[in-house]
C-alpha cells in the first residue's frame, strides 16, 4: 500500500513539475490523434450524408459493414496495416512503417467507421424540412449539406468526440505500426505499456492520469452536447 502511494506521489510530481519526457509523450499523442480525426472527419461525414440522403442500392449493406467495424480490435487494424506497410508489403516502398504517419493512417482507419455510423445517425435524425427549406430558398447543394450539418451539429460533435476518445486511447495500432520509438512514435498508451513492463509505474500512472482526465472531460462534454441536442429537437 505504501509503495502504491509513493508511486502515485511520484506520478503527480512528474505531472505537476512538467517532466519534459512525459509531456513530450502527451503532446505526441494529441498531435497524432488530432491529425487522424481532422483528416478523417470531412470524408466520413460526407459519406454519412450520402448514406442518409442518397437513394441508391446497397445503403443498408454499407451501413451494416461500418457498424460491424465499430468494435474491431485495434491490434487487428495494426496487423492489417503492418502487413501492408512492411518492407515486403505492397506499400513497403513508402517507408511508412514505424513512423507517425503510419500511426495517423491506422487511427484514421479506426475512427472512420465510428464517424460514419454516428454521423449517419445524427444526419438521418435531421428534420426533412431542413433540406426542403434550404432547397426552396435557393441554396446550392454544398450549402444545403452545410446547413444540415449545422442543424445537427451537436450530434456530429458527439460523433467526433467519440472517435477522438477511441483513437487517443488505442494501443494496438500505435504499438504495431509506430514501434514505440522514444521521442518519435511513443505515445501515452505505448509508454504506459512499456513502463509497466519495466516495473516503473510512476510515469505509467502519470500518463494514466492524463488519459483518465481526458476520458472524464470527453464524457462531460458528451453529456453537455446530448443535453443541448435534446433541447433542440
Amino acid at each position: 500500500m505504501e509503495g502504491l502511494l509513493s508511486t502515485i506521489q511520484q506520478a503527480l510530481q512528474l505531472l505537476l513539475y512538467g517532466d519534459a519526457e512525459l509531456w513530450a509523450i502527451v503532446l505526441l499523442s494529441f498531435s497524432v490523434s488530432i491529425k487522424a480525426i481532422s483528416l478523417t472527419t470531412p470524408l466520413a461525414l460526407l459519406l454519412a450524408f450520402s448514406l442518409a440522403y442518397g437513394n441508391y442500392p446497397g445503403v443498408r449493406i454499407i451501413l451494416a459493414f461500418f457498424n460491424s467495424l465499430l468494435s474491431v480490435p485495434t491490434v487487428v487494424v495494426g496487423l492489417f496495416l503492418y502487413v501492408l506497410l512492411t518492407r515486403q508489403g505492397p506499400f513497403g516502398d513508402l517507408r511508412l512503417l514505424f513512423t507517425q504517419s503510419a500511426m495517423v493512417i491506422g487511427q484514421m482507419i479506426l475512427c472512420f467507421p465510428i464517424l460514419v455510423a454516428l454521423g449517419y445517425a445524427a444526419i438521418q435524425a435531421a428534420d426533412v424540412r431542413v433540406w426542403e427549406t434550404a432547397r426552396t430558398l435557393g441554396a446550392p447543394r454544398w450549402h444545403i449539406i452545410l446547413t444540415i450539418f449545422y442543424e445537427v451539429r451537436y450530434g456530429l460533435l458527439a460523433a467526433v468526440l467519440t472517435g477522438f476518445g477511441r483513437v487517443i486511447s488505442e494501443v494496438g495500432i500505435s504499438m504495431m505500426v509506430g514501434g514505440n520509438i522514444m521521442g518519435y512514435t511513443r505515445n501515452i498508451t505505448t509508454a504506459i505499456a512499456l513502463e509497466t513492463s519495466k516495473g516503473e509505474f510512476a510515469q505509467g500512472i502519470a500518463l494514466g492520469f492524463v488519459l483518465l482526465s481526458l476520458a472524464f472531460l470527453l464524457t462531460a462534454l458528451l453529456s453537455y452536447i446530448q443535453s443541448k441536442n435534446g433541447g433542440n429537437t
Binding site: 427549406t133 426552396t136 435557393g138 441554396a139 442543424e151
Partner: protein
C-alpha cells in the same frame, strides 16, 4: 387574363400503388391567388411540393416561356423562382435576422445591401424586436411570420403556402391575409392549400378542390 407564368400539365404521382395525383393540370398567373382545398391526405401537400421541385412526380410537363418541358429538365431552372412554405414553419436554429437573410446569400447582393434588405423586411413584418432572438424559441405565430418574411424578401414569382393560417388566431390570420394580398399586388402568384376556404374569400381568385387525384374548379 394575362399570360400564365407556368402551366403544369399531367402531374401524376403514386404512393404505395395508390394514384393520388391523376394527370393534374394547373396554371399559375401573376398577381393571382389560387386556392386548393381537399380532404386530409388527398395530395395537396404533394402537389405543392411537386410544383416547388421538392418531390419528384412520375410524370409532369411544364409550359414556360411558350415552350413545353419535362419536369426533370426544367425544374432546376424554375425552382429558384418558386418558394414553398411548410404548414408548420421551419426555421433554422439561428437568429430571426439570420433566418431572413438565408436566401439572400445566394444572389449577387453585397453584405451592406443584404443588411439593408433584412432591416426593411423586419420592419415591414413587424419583427424588428425579435431580430436578435433565436428563431426556434419563438411562438408558432411569430415563427410563421418569420418564415413568410424569409420567403418574401426573395421576391418569388410563385409562393406556395401549405395551410398557412391553420395554427393562427383571428388577428394573426387577418394580418397574414393582408401580407399575402400585398405580395399578390407586387406580381407574385400565390397558391394556398386550406381546409377552410372562407378564410381566403377576399384573396383567392381561383378555387379548386382536389378530389380523387383530380383538380375540380369550384
Amino acid at each position: 387574363m394575362t399570360e400564365p407564368l407556368f402551366v403544369f400539365h399531367g402531374i401524376q404521382k403514386t404512393f404505395a400503388k395508390v394514384e393520388i395525383l391523376r394527370k393534374v393540370d394547373l396554371s399559375l398567373y401573376p398577381e393571382k391567388c389560387t386556392l386548393i382545398t381537399g380532404k386530409n391526405g388527398c395530395g395537396k401537400t404533394t402537389l405543392l411540393k411537386i410544383i416547388a421541385g421538392l418531390e419528384k412526380p412520375e410524370k409532369a410537363e411544364i409550359e414556360f416561356s411558350g415552350k413545353s418541358h419535362s419536369w426533370e429538365k426544367i425544374m432546376p431552372d424554375i425552382c429558384k423562382k418558386i418558394i414553398y412554405l411548410h404548414q408548420q414553419a421551419f426555421l433554422f436554429s439561428t437568429t430571426v435576422e439570420s433566418n431572413i437573410a438565408y436566401g439572400l446569400r445566394f444572389n449577387t447582393m453585397t453584405r451592406e445591401q443584404r443588411r439593408k434588405s433584412v432591416k426593411k423586411a423586419l420592419e415591414l413584418s413587424g419583427l424588428t424586436e425579435f431580430a436578435k432572438k433565436q428563431a426556434n424559441t419563438l411562438s408558432g405565430g411569430v415563427q410563421q411570420r418569420v418564415a413568410f418574411a424569409r420567403a418574401c424578401i426573395l421576391k418569388p414569382k410563385v409562393l406556395l403556402l401549405d395551410e398557412p393560417v391553420s395554427n393562427m388566431d383571428r388577428q394573426s390570420r387577418e394580418h397574414a391575409c393582408h401580407s399575402m394580398q400585398f405580395l399578390k399586388s407586387t406580381g407574385t402568384s400565390i397558391v394556398i392549400t386550406s381546409h377552410v376556404p372562407q378564410y381566403f374569400d377576399g384573396l383567392a381568385d381561383m378555387h379548386f378542390e382536389l378530389v380523387n387525384g383530380k383538380l375540380i374548379e369550384t
